[in-house]
Amino acid sequence: MRNSSIRKYLSNKIVWLYMLSGGFVLGTTLLGLLVSSVTIPVPAILHIVLENTFNIGWLDDIPRNEEMIIWNIRLPRVLLALCVGASLALAGAAFQGLLRNPLADPYTIGVSSGAALGAVFVLFFQVTIVGLGSFTLPIVAIISGFITLLVVFGLVRLSSRSLAVETIILAGIIISAFIGAITSLVISLGDRDAMTQILYWLYGSVGMRGWSHVHLIIPFMLVGSFIVLIHYRELNALALGEDAADHIGVDVKKGKTYILIGASLLTGAAVAVSGSIGFVGLVIPHLVRLITGPNHRHVLPLSMLIGGAFLILADLVARTIIAPKELPIGIITALIGAPVFALLLIRERIGRGGER
């Protein structure tokens, strides 16, 4: 009796958390649409969005350029931030759970370095694959991210039959260090123009990407999220260690492989469309875990929501704080993320000290 009432309370709390997070996403999305260096009246913005989505507008005479700004520049930008933030945060939560390491993030196992290298190559050689056009860069980035995952897998398999966590982390570090060196090599070989482009890309940004990048990331995000989300129980079970997970019937190797693939899809796609945006994947899962506890059933979806909303906010700050100039979004995520992370660490320690 007592237990069931507690559980009811808890599930209520969880429901509230989901509603709050959903509201947060909606709120930041609207804020992202409303606030910018260019002021457009709110009714006009709402009209444009509703007109284009549900075909219900009530205003005439919306200037074409305002419609373009909202529908083709601002909205895809906000949505891309949402998708990238959600992908990175989910991938971060998955990697942390999978590697049983709170310091893991989407960049730990080197997929992002691989994706970045692919992008850098495209920028360096100015190649355009026929039929892909401006999609060349993100597609190549995703493919090279995947090749990196395969290389990491191969290395892990050669050195440890059971896909040991430590080996995965080590292989990831080795591969990213190697790829990082190649990337630096390419940068130093490039001419100034290419270098500018590469560096701008490496900064990470969700601006000036347009709908095409949103369309590009969405399928990867959906597939990756699906794979990761349906494995929440395996992630929980892995918290006890792989042997214990095996004992309760988890196919550890299969589960790990799926989660790695899912999280790598998310990471690769996010890096491909936006460059390497740090801290989202590290901080957001921790934040969510502090609120909900470590159960991945809630950590995973809530990380997506909060991560998406967080990146929208970060982008908003990046493009308004010294408008009309923009700051690289990675600077904002790090500037907000690092102190928040430090605070969380301190708070957690104090909290634990109090209970002990």
């Binding site: 129980r233 918290a239 004992h247």
Partner: protein, 488 residues
């Protein structure tokens, strides 16, 4: 339930388990014993599928374990291993709910009402309900292990594999945990297959045991198999002595360390001091003596240092003599857990102390005697206790080394000598008017220094037995004479 047939397996090329056969019956607690490296954990890993079976088969209810999927296996077999590290701050409830993993159905794989019922039940059983929302890592080692047991039980397994489940636990938590398991075994007919390190714990809890040695079974059988000291010595390479548990009919094993105490030989005549007043006689030795006695406290065969005889009034209310003796000893700062305590109404000044050396063996005897309650043990009628002064308390200390059998021999010899003394003084049982064999409340203790050559016999056919007889006879006779003189 589980059958292991000609099993061969282990790491890579060299099999650790070599041609093993075993059958575990439903509802039994089977303990797997053996030193480190004997292959216990390997056998478990072969069962759980973490290591490949090279040859042979493991059958679970007649089905080859290889043919079961991981989920099917998890529904039948649960594992509780040594303490595991849990990453992140999972609550107890969340950890236990992981045990429902193999039973969860549907696309969302949520916990159903039935799942929650099982979870609550196992928490109740393992007495961790109050920790339901507590973070796992806040718990103590024993509580943690109970949570993990609850998780394993939540799997509702047919067989539970325990890999040294009490390894990090203190005695309290060890017994708590095993009691829970035992209860589950008895009430739910759970089959338990456990690796245990502690042979005595295994003896107390297991129904059957197997002794694994270098990948093969040396012994399989009920716990009394543990009495085979030679086998244990072969496996563990430690001097092992099997004894019986004092209250439970199970063997308990005592290990003898390999080091020798380099204490110098005791000089018997300097080794004790005797303190005496009107209230007590206290004989104190520097070292514990191997002692057999029927004293009020310190009975049985033990190692003891203090030997006391307390004077009580002849109208002493003997409703709780044990407590009284302990109280008196505390009063005089004598550690009662290392002492034999006797009682007598005889005036302690009438005690007789005799020392003697017989065939190079030093002996000391102290006797207090009263024969008011003299009894012929062979006579028919039993007379109720009278308030006469009449107890013969005998303490015999010998500087020699007896086996346990010799100690009993010596005890007999001393008793026979006492009987002879009574007979020669013509002490009669007043009820039957026949020669008495003793009094109704005689106490005797025999204490050995256990140094020198080991003597296996101390009966009347041996020099030492004769020596005991002579010295006890002499002292008893003198003491009775003193008593008779006083009561006249």
């Amino acid at each position: 339930m589980m059958k292991v047939e000609n099993l061969v397996g282990g790491y890579t090329n060299t099999p650790i388990i070599k041609d093993l056969n075993l059958e575990i019956k439903k509802g039994e607690f089977f303990a797997l014993l053996g030193p480190n490296g004997s292959g216990k954990t390997t056998l478990f890993k072969l069962i759980t599928g973490q290591l490949p079976i090279q040859k042979g088969d493991i059958l679970l209810s007649g089905k080859a374990i290889k043919s079961l999927s991981k989920l099917e296996k998890a529904k039948k077999v649960a594992v509780l291993s040594q303490e595991v590290q849990v990453s992140f701050d999972y609550t107890v409830e969340e950890i236990i709910s992981l045990g429902r993993y193999p039973h969860q159905k549907g696309i969302l794989k949520q916990l159903s009402k039935a799942d929650w019922k099982v979870i609550e039940e196992v928490m109740e059983l393992t007495k961790i309900s109050q920790f339901q929302k507590t973070q796992f890592r806040m718990l103590s080692g024993g509580e943690k292990q109970r949570v993990l047991l609850a998780k394993a039980l939540a799997q509702e397994p047919e067989i539970l594999l325990l890999d040294e489940p009490t390894n990090h636990l203190d005695i309290k938590h060890t017994f708590q945990l095993l009691d829970v398991l035992k209860e589950r075994q008895q009430t739910m007919d759970l089959t338990i297959f456990s690796i245990l390190h502690d042979l005595n714990v295994a003896s107390l809890y297991a129904d059957r045991i197997a002794l694994l040695h270098k990948g093969t079974f040396l012994e399989v059988g009920d716990v009394d198999t543990l009495r085979k000291e030679d086998q244990l010595k072969k496996v563990y390479e430690v001097e092992v002595k099997a004894q019986s548990h004092p209250t439970v009919p199970k063997p308990q094993l005592l290990m003898t360390p390999n080091y020798t105490t380099s204490s110098s030989l005791l000089n018997f005549s300097d080794a004790y001091k005797i303190e005496q007043n009107d209230e007590y006689i206290h004989v104190q030795f520097d070292r514990p003596l191997r002692t057999i006695s029927n004293g009020v406290i310190g009975e049985g065969i033990q190692w003891l240092k203090h030997f006391c005889n307390f004077h009580v009034d002849k109208n002493y209310d003997c409703s709780d003599p044990t407590q009284d003796i302990k109280m008196w000893m505390d009063k005089y700062h004598i550690p009662h857990e290392q002492a034999v305590g006797m009682m007598t109404a005889v005036k302690l000044v009438d005690k007789v102390i005799v020392t003697k050396e017989i065939e190079g063996i030093n002996m000391l005897v102290i006797v207090t005697a009263g024969v008011g309650n003299a009894v012929d043990i062979s006579a028919g009628s039993l007379v109720g206790a009278t308030s006469q002064i009449g107890t013969i308390n005998t303490m015999v200390f010998i500087d020699t080394h007896f086996t346990d059998g010799a100690i009993v021999n010596g005890y007999m010899s001393a008793t026979e000598a006492k009987v002879k003394a009574l007979q020669d003084l013509n002490i009669k049982d007043p009820a039957s008017n026949t020669i008495a064999t003793g009094t109704s409340t005689d106490s005797l203790l025999l204490a050995l220094t256990q140094q020198g050559k080991k003597t296996p016999y101390a009966g009347s056919g041996t020099v030492v037995g004769k020596g005991i007889g002579q010295i006890v006879y002499q002292a008893t006779q003198e003491a009775i004479k003193k008593y008779l003189k006083r009561v006249k």
